[in-house]
């Protein structure tokens, strides 16, 4: 978090408040917190309808809207399928067709049964689980940006592990915040620059399973339609006035065919996006802009 034009003492207080706010969001959305409401859903919602806390209910409803708007490309229920691929490809094997078929019975947003009047949720398959990993950072940043604005901060850059960035106002020495998408293989080089003003940027990336070590497995993205991992080394970055839109679209566009992407984006406003694909040339991976929109 970089705050501009804020006294040191006040900035420190804002940083403390920001951390508190982010931790609260994490508790609401993390599936890794065994005491958290997402874990409770994942444990119990297959047996009974569960009423999540108010904020989580709103988040899940938002996710439902995004699932519809992205024609199913954004889906928070893919974990069983992603894990199946991870477990197999870590060992160098592909899951069998039968195992894939089985896993696909436990994914799909349509298998989440929302009861809007009772504000409850039920899993229609017993091995489902919800993972807000592709949503939470955008949501948290959007909320944090709102809090900072409310406190009078006009210029700031908020980076959530570099994959999600939100800026307030502009860079102190220019008309916008120039944010470069780092070359995955040469982090000091920029593969594309976005000029952000009161906007958010989110990037999703993927790599061939067989080229990843254990730490790489976190980056894998599986296409909900084909049930297979996205191939190649690629990153898709989306800039948008909304942090959540940017976060959701960076994953959704990555799994959407190029020919269908413009139609998907037209459901959103003021979005620009770029897909960078890394091609092997003379033993090095060279970034190329494979697709872009609104730039």
């Amino acid at each position: 978090m970089v705050l501009v034009g804020v006294e040191t003492e006040r900035a420190e207080a804002l940083a403390v408040a920001a951390e508190r706010e982010l931790r609260a969001h994490e508790r609401t959305m993390s599936r890794f917190d065994p005491e958290g409401p997402v874990s409770e859903l994942n444990r119990r919602a297959a047996e009974n309808a569960v009423q999540p806390p108010q904020e989580l209910w709103e988040i899940l409803s938002l996710c439902r809207d995004y699932w519809k708007r992205t024609h199913g490309a954004f889906d928070i229920t893919l974990l069983p399928l992603t894990q199946l691929w991870r477990e197999h490809l870590d060992r160098g094997a592909e899951p069998t067709a039968e195992a894939l078929k089985q896993a696909r019975r436990h994914i799909g947003f349509e298998r989440l049964d929302f009861d809007d009047s009772a504000r409850t949720l039920r899993f229609l398959s017993n091995e489902m689980s919800i993972d807000l990993g592709g949503f939470g950072k955008g949501y948290a940043l959007e909320r944090l940006a709102g809090s900072l604005r409310a406190q009078g901060v006009e210029q700031a850059l908020l980076s959530f592990g570099e994959s999600s960035i939100t800026v307030l106002g502009s860079h102190p020495h220019g008309p916008a915040w120039p944010v470069g998408i780092a070359n995955m293989f040469q982090p000091s080089e920029t593969a594309h620059t976005f000029h952000l003003r009161n906007a958010s940027l989110s990037s999703s990336g993927t790599a061939p399973f067989n080229r990843m070590g254990s730490s790489g497995a976190l980056g894998q993205i599986v296409d909900p339609h084909s049930g297979r991992p996205i191939e190649g080394y690629r990153t898709l970055s989306v800039a948008s006035p909304s942090g959540i839109d940017a976060e959701v679209l960076s994953t959704a566009l990555l799994v959407t065919l190029e020919s269908d992407r413009a139609a998907l984006i037209s459901e959103f406003s003021s979005v620009s996006a770029v897909e960078i694909v890394y091609y092997s040339e003379a033993g090095k991976f060279v970034p190329k802009i494979d697709w872009k929109y609104g730039l």
């Binding site: 980076s159 960035i165 020495h173 780092a182 940027l201 990336g205 976190l218 092997s280 991976f285």
Partner: protein, 431 residues
């Protein structure tokens, strides 16, 4: 043809059953690559592809049909223009198993009888170390071409005798250091030549396994014959059987042999009656001040086997085929951004990207050297080189230098550990 990609793709034989086609591609590459032109032992591979006529056929005999001998059989059966005419082993079960694989080959218990066999062009010696010298020398005397498994010989004097016997001869001699023909190591060498790591300032190599390094013995009386790698009368253990591979690469990449070495070895875990060390630690010194640090043990396999070639600009791990760039890690984006703001710069900062990245700032994963997976560790190509050289009737240039440089080097290491003192390169040794 000299670009990185052609080197790795032409030498990629994975998934392609036809060795003849593969060797045709190798020949084209060997004739056009400036890198390979600098490696004299590649010259036989430039020969025109072998035809089908009987006169093109090279007839070979293999002495020693153990693990390595069997691997040679498997490769030679696929190598065009080669006939395995004879197999020799004084251990009958091995000989019988070998003969069952090679139709029409003649079996021998005594290699000298095999050398008398009419029409035999050359031999492959895959016997315990202590037999290498006498077999090489007898084969040379019998007018045969020789492929000898590494390491060259049991003593430095024997290395010298082999070099002396071969000097000026038209006979082909080859040593079984297959990394000289390994696509992965060629890529590594190419990077060194291109200055990717700068001057080589240190090489660190290791070979770690976890196991007793024994073969099952049907009868205690066969212990020494089958587990010869554990006994000093037959071998120098980890040095000659494993270290020789990496010391060959070190000498090759440094273009020199060491001037001296020191080291310690002991048996600290497998105290089962063996005589040879189960762990060794050595430092070799080269004339230009470069050191090669080598260690090997058979009680821990965590780090496996690797040779790390280091320079001011990077590190190459050649066994796994990766380059790790040394260039200082860029300031993390945020720090760079703040510096810019404080100094009035309006610059793009590469700060965005997916949460997953292949190379983090520490470059912990490195860059893969070859984009295609190659199944051959160099053995297939090296055997083709041997057969071609016999067909051409020309010795393989540079081969004896590599064999002797390495053969002497590992024996120096064994001596340093046994005598617990610094051992110098033998003055007057001549290839």
């Amino acid at each position: 043809m000299d670009s990185d990609s052609s080197l790795s793709s032409s030498l990629d034989d994975s998934g392609r059953a036809d060795r003849r086609e593969f060797l045709k591609r190798v020949a084209v590459l060997a004739g056009s690559s400036t890198l390979l032109a600098q490696l004299p032992w590649w010259s036989p591979l430039r020969a025109a592809p072998v035809g089908e006529s009987p006169s093109d056929r090279v007839r070979l005999g293999i002495v020693g049909v153990g693990t390595r001998g069997n691997l040679h059989i498997a490769h030679l059966l696929r190598t065009p223009g080669v006939e395995i005419a004879a197999l020799c082993d004084d251990y009958e079960p091995h000989l019988d198993a070998g003969l069952a694989k090679v139709k029409g080959a003649k079996g021998f218990a005594d290699y000298r009888r095999m050398l008398d066999m009419p029409g035999l062009d050359g031999v492959l010696i895959a016997t315990p170390l202590y037999l290498h010298a006498r077999m090489c020398l007898d084969a040379f005397s019998a007018g045969k071409h020789v492929f000898c498994e590494k390491s060259l010989a049991y003593t430095i004097e024997e290395c010298q005798a082999i070099a002396d016997a071969h000097r000026g001869s038209k006979q082909v001699f080859q040593i079984g250091h297959q990394r000289m023909f390994s696509p992965a190591f060629l890529r590594a060498l190419e990077l060194v030549h291109n200055g990717e790591i700068g001057q080589i300032t240190q090489i660190r190599a290791y070979w770690h396994r976890n196991g007793n390094w024994r073969s099952p013995v049907p009868d205690p009386s066969l212990e020494h014959r089958l587990n010869w790698r554990l006994y000093r009368a037959y071998s120098c253990g980890l040095m000659t059987e494993l270290a020789s591979h990496h010391m060959q690469v070190a000498n090759w990449f440094l273009g020199a042999h060491p001037v001296s070495c020191v080291g310690y070895g002991s048996i600290n875990y497998w105290k089962d009656g063996r005589e040879l060390y189960d762990n060794v630690n050595l430092v070799y010194r080269y004339a230009n001040g470069t050191h090669v640090i080598y260690d090997s043990l058979i009680s821990n396999v965590f780090y496996g086997s690797e040779i790390q070639i280091m320079g001011p600009k990077g590190t190459i791990e050649a066994e796994t085929g990766r380059l790790f760039a040394e260039n200082p890690a860029p300031a993390p984006g945020i720090v760079q951004l703040i510096n810019g703001i404080e100094h009035g710069f309006f610059d793009t900062v590469p700060i965005g990207g997916p949460s997953w990245v292949p190379d983090l700032k520490k470059d912990t994963k490195g860059t893969l050297l070859a984009k295609e997976k190659t199944t051959d560790d160099g053995t297939a190509i090296s055997l083709a080189a041997y057969a071609n050289a016999i067909r051409l009737g020309e010795p393989i240039p540079g081969m004896m230098e590599q064999a002797c440089g390495t053969g002497v080097c590992v024996l120096m290491g064994q001596a340093a550990m046994e005598q617990q003192k610094q051992i110098a390169w033998p003055e007057g040794f001549r290839v």
